[in-house]
């Protein structure tokens, strides 16, 4: 049983470009959350998707957008990249109503903006 998977592992972009990160949730999970983790900091919540809709959103600008597909996989899109967007982007999945009180995290995508 595969856990949460993310692609790509690493990515290098330049300022102003756009990037798309991908996440496949753990089998049986239908809720996907995205987090940004800057170096030396804890993860910060970006947004959460359930039933292909954004349910919650953290304090991130509209440059950050997402999508969830019918198979529960998800994408995170960031437009007009800034140097400060360099971070580890984490995807976490969880089941709805299944009694699990935790989220399972993927290995993350390391984004470097030059």
């Amino acid at each position: 049983d595969a856990g949460v998977t993310q692609s790509p592992t690493h990515l290098i972009k330049t300022r102003g470009q756009q990037v798309t990160l991908r996440c496949s949730p753990k089998s049986g999970h239908d809720t996907v959350s995205w987090y940004q983790q800057a170096l030396g900091q804890g993860p910060q919540f970006i947004f959460q998707y359930y039933e292909e809709e954004e349910r919650q959103r953290g304090n991130f600008p509209d440059r950050f957008s997402g999508h969830q597909f019918p198979n529960y996989s998800s994408e995170l899109n960031v437009n007009a990249l800034l140097l400060g967007d360099s971070a580890l982007y984490l995807c976490a999945s969880s089941p709805v109503g299944g009694g699990e009180d935790t989220q399972y995290f993927g290995p993350g995508t390391r984004l470097t903006v030059l």
Partner: protein, 112 residues
């Protein structure tokens, strides 16, 4: 969501017991306490969760006093591989809809 306070870092040696205390003075009645472990360039991994008194699993124990304003994660007989950042989180027991709020965590360094 209740704010948590943890030590920035801790040092230990292999074979010792490590106790990391987290302060959460404004914890709400419905809040649970959850600890995550994170290795460099990896996602956080759930360790343990509790509401009151003591919880134990194969990895750690979690001690929560009656007033629930603090909690202590106990790692028995640590090894070098326990070197990681440990996060204490407080929030509603959710069904997956939780917006996890991480602080800066405690960096544990285990030396030979």
């Amino acid at each position: 969501l209740a704010k948590t306070t943890q030590p920035i870092s801790m040092d230990s040696y292999e074979g010792q017991e490590v106790n990391i205390t987290c302060s959460h003075n404004n914890i709400a009645t419905n809040d649970y306490i959850t600890w995550y472990q994170q290795f460099p360039s990896q996602g956080p991994r759930f360790i343990i969760q509790g509401y009151k008194t003591k919880v134990t699993n194969e990895v750690a124990s979690l001690f929560i006093p009656a007033d629930r304003k603090s909690s202590t994660l106990s790692l028995p007989r640590v090894s070098l591989s326990d070197t990681a950042v440990y996060y204490c989180l407080v929030g509603d027991e959710g069904t997956g809809f939780q917006k996890l709020v991480f602080g800066t965590g405690t960096r544990l360094l285990v030396s030979p």
